[in-house]
């Protein structure tokens, strides 16, 4: 910084610690609650240090052996979420990279129409057309299936937009040189465009994985079969028990399990994530 002001530096650190505390506290308390027997959590004041039921509680939710649990085993829900998140991220990257390639590198009739049809979806979040989309999925018998969880969410144009922007920055000389060497469109795509896009793909993967894992409304609608549910939706089923206090240790054990995978992804791939975020929005 410009000048050294001890007071201000200490103040900065204090504010940042305050911020971190706000970030960590809810997660820490969830973890604490997940390690205690039910009675301890229900009597105020609630414990602030971890208890001794960690293994018991987590085994109980993972295998679903808790009576009246009202949900499929959490292990199954985690697997469903993983399939959905990977399906959305890989599927979306695959279809976007090829359609962006076609739109940038080919001249063909109908190109403007296709471009317009794809990019208008930038403006339509799933929340505003839920009922007709649900009807479409029902008519295609996609309810309670992985395809139903994945397909409607891979269409949006954000990824296509990002790839298009990136392809436009690849110098034209690359293509000229490749053509002189006799490369066709597929060769050029595989040998030049894909390797150049590697960092963009990694960044996008992080964002899309988290996006897919955290989906709520869509899985809520199209999975009625508990065995097809996702972990994030499963949690709200545990909280919304009627006429009773939720069984907090189990709810919190499930919550901790639901937030571990995306948090691990973001911590490990921080650089790609920040890069992807800032570029995507440009």
């Amino acid at each position: 910084m410009i000048e050294r002001r001890r007071g201000l530096t200490i103040f900065s650190h204090a504010v940042l610690w305050g911020g971190i505390l706000t970030v960590i506290l809810p997660v820490y308390l969830a973890f604490v609650a997940s390690t205690h027997p039910l009675e301890d959590v229900l009597s105020a004041p609630i414990p602030v240090l971890p208890g001794d039921q960690l293994i018991e509680n987590y085994t109980a939710v993972l295998t679903g052996s808790v009576a009246n649990f009202g949900s499929a085993p959490v292990l199954l829900l985690l697997a469903n979420s993983l399939v959905m998140a990977l399906g959305i991220s890989i599927g979306k990257i695959a279809i976007s990279v090829i359609s962006a390639y076609a739109i940038v590198y080919f001249r063909f009739p109908l190109r403007p129409l296709f471009f317009w049809l794809i990019f208008v979806t930038l403006m339509l979040p799933v929340e505003v057309r839920i009922i007709p989309t649900y009807e479409v999925a029902a008519n295609l018998s996609l309810l309670n299936s992985y395809q139903g969880l994945i397909l409607p969410l891979i269409a949006s144009a954000t990824a296509t937009f990002l790839f298009r922007q990136f392809f436009l920055t690849i110098p034209d000389q690359m293509l000229e040189a490749a053509r002189i060497d006799g490369a066709g469109p597929i060769r050029f795509f595989i040998d030049i465009v894909l390797p150049l896009s590697r960092t963009n793909i990694a960044a996008l993967f992080v964002i899309l994985f988290i996006y897919g894992w955290n989906q709520y409304l869509w899985p809520l609608l199209i999975t009625t079969d508990q065995d097809m549910g996702t972990i994030v939706v499963g949690i709200s089923n545990l909280v919304q028990v009627t006429e009773a206090e939720p069984r907090w240790p189990y709810v919190m054990a499930t919550t901790v399990l639901a937030l571990i995978p995306p948090v691990v992804v973001i911590v490990l791939m921080q650089r790609q994530f920040v890069r992807g975020l800032v570029e995507q929005e440009k």
Partner: protein, 295 residues
């Protein structure tokens, strides 16, 4: 836009766009058209016949006290979430920009809420604010504040605002930090030489240079508060108590899936669609004019 040099091929480009085009048409364009069509239909009580009524559903919304309440709730909710999220994001980012030591550590910890699902964030805060077991409710009772988000509408509103803003702080933090770090040091040094202290520099030099980022984040946060918080609301208050947290996107879901009033629900969807299109257009227009201030 197109490359100066390009390929020509009779079928390949069509094959390449086909998958995306198919998903887009089936799951986006067609349902959006359906929503528009449904919004102009009225179904009788038994669902046996439907009648085309033009804009009757939209007019009905204007005189529906529940809908007007929902608009009010949405405005309070989105404005609070946006202000709280942007304010804390900027505050934390400017502090993080100052400190050199532990900067990466701070950043790592502060961006984690981005990875937490809105529904999960809601449940975490629901637990902390729970009147019988929550630690925050316990502390507030200790201070003599009566608190019960399950019964009291404004308590519930405060809870969902905090849960929704908590999740968004990290996003704003990342953008503000990137913005702050791209401000040329020489500008700030010049201001310092002219005798401006840290606070003066912030308001006269740094904040104006951040205004494009701030504006962009405002739009993004508004869209977030409008739509993505559906999960936060559904997992915590379900729009209650007494519709105190029934934001517009939640009402679309409730009227459509629980109330089975498809016409009204579709009309509400279209209103939301218009809002998001307006926000997107504003954003694009502004982004084009985004000030570049070098590296």
């Amino acid at each position: 836009m197109l490359k100066r040099v390009h390929f020509k091929h009779p079928v390949l480009p069509y094959l390449l766009v086909a998958p995306q085009l198919a998903v887009t048409l089936v799951f986006f364009i067609w349902p959006a058209g359906q929503a528009l069509w449904q919004s102009m239909l009225v179904e009788d009580a038994f669902g046996l016949s439907t009648e085309f009524v033009w804009f009757e559903n939209y007019l009905a919304l204007l005189s529906d006290p529940q809908y007007l309440n929902s608009i009010k709730v949405t405005v309070v909710f989105t404005v609070s979430v946006t202000a709280l999220g942007i304010g804390s994001g900027l505050f934390l980012a400017s502090m993080a920009d100052r400190v050199i030591r532990f900067a990466t550590g701070y950043r790592t910890l502060l961006i984690t809420p981005y990875a937490v699902a809105p529904a999960v964030a809601g449940v975490l805060w629901l637990f902390m604010f729970n009147p019988t077991v929550g630690i925050l409710a316990y502390l507030m009772h200790g201070l003599g504040i009566s608190w019960n988000p399950l019964v009291n509408g404004s308590d519930a509103m405060v809870m969902v605002i905090i849960a929704a803003a908590w999740k968004q702080i990290s996003y704003n933090f990342v953008f503000f930090l990137a913005g702050l770090q791209s401000i040329p040091r020489s500008l700030i040094e010049a201001a310092a030489i002219d005798g401006a202290g840290p606070f003066r520099r912030f308001w006269t030099v740094i904040f104006p240079l951040l205004s494009p980022t701030t504006f962009f984040l405002m739009v993004v946060n508004l869209v977030y508060a409008f739509f993505e918080t559906f999960a936060t609301i559904h997992a915590t208050t379900s729009g209650g108590p007494a519709n105190a947290t029934n934001i517009m996107v939640y009402k679309v879901y409730r009227d459509g899936f629980e109330g089975l009033d498809l016409g009204s629900s579709a009309a509400q969807s279209v209103v939301l669609m218009l809002i998001v299109i307006a926000l997107t257009i504003i954003q694009f227009r502004y982004v084009e004019k985004r000030v570049e201030y070098g590296t």
